[in-house]
Amino acid sequence: MDRPPPSPLLLMLLADARLPTAGHTQSAQLEPATVWGLGVSEVADFIALRLRTVTRVEAATAVVAMHHLRAGLDVAEVEAAWAARTPSPAMRATSRQMARALRRLVCRLWPESPHLAVTGPGASRAVVLAVAADSAGLAPRDLAMLVGYDDVQTVASAALKLLPLDPADVACWVLDALAAVDALATEVAPLTLPSAIPAAGAPQIEAWAESHAVTSRRLFNA
């Protein structure tokens, strides 16, 4: 192509659930939460909780990783900071699995990316998202919005499979969550240091992730 597509279009591409990265296999821990007893009326709170905790860690990690990639710094330190803030082995495994799926696609979309070589099979999803965002020419704030928005939509679309409800209600949840996504992006966009990544765990979500990893009855991978 003569000119790269404008970054807003590339942001839409990366945020599209139709992107073949196995997103349909994920519930962002909503499935174990519903098994535990989380009801329809609590899903919006679940989304908000994730945005304040695990998703905030992922968004900040992605932003700091993109800074490191663009500045020619080693991302190993970013990976270590993310892992230290993601105490659930199941959640780390899921992130790395999703990273692998995303990395396959990035290899097809942007094979020329210089960062594919430095983000191998063990990379976290946040770091591979940073590689994709770098190729797409996204700003740090766009990348943080992408992480937040994708998490909200992952929970929302899984809710349609797990709970009896009106799909329009789910769209309303997503709309209502956008302010929190925006605030999250504003908070983490300026970060450049691994040590600045918030350590915001959610022990109940982590416990759900662990229990889901060993159950024999599940619709979603995680």
């Binding site: 073949p20 196995a22 296999t25 696609l105 979603f220 991978n221």
Partner: protein, 245 residues
Amino acid sequence: MPDSPTRSLRVGVCGPVGTGKSSLIALVCRELAAELRLGVVTNDIYTDEDARFLRSAGVLDPDRIRSVETGACPHTAIRDDITANLMMVEDLEADFDPLDVVLVESGGDNLTATFSPALVDTQIFLIDVAGGGDVARKGGPGITRADLLVVNKTDLGPHVGVDPDQMVVDASAVRDGRPVIALSRTDPASVTALTDWLRRQLASHRTGDLTPADPGPMAPHSHGDEPSHTHGQGDDAHHHDHAHV
């Protein structure tokens, strides 16, 4: 796909719920495990029931049987977004290198679900006599264009009032020469027909002569006295100025 010519033959097994996909895979494993290095990927919908069934059947090392969760989207996982299945197939191939054949079992779906040719090299579509004698006539991409159609459980024909031979005739009529096997676990000749077909597919794969073909989304059809054809797929895509009926 940038695949190595020495990687395994990837075989898709799909068809409606209850037609015998897991049993067919167990049968293939039982017949061929001593001769070929096999792996299995299942796509269960609610549980890992199919994977557990196959492991408990004792026909294959349990670690060679892996399950993929599809998020209640079994159709997506074999067609629109094959990522999860491809990664699992590659993991099996890496863990048990070299494998001869990896069988990928779709989550039981409907008559329209078929595998992407980017996921499997060849695919088997199953229907069964207990599902009704009219299923073969209803057609659909799997029935008309899968590499192999299996009409399963032929031994049940007398019990469900269905003539298996007629089902095979009906199916063959819409398959343009593609193979149909009337299968029963209790009929050794039909089992041999199935395993021989698989051996031939593997041989073609190894010589580089097997080109993955997409069965769907549209079945071949004809307009009056024209020969039957398909639309928008590969070399035979063409334009029309008339409506389809």
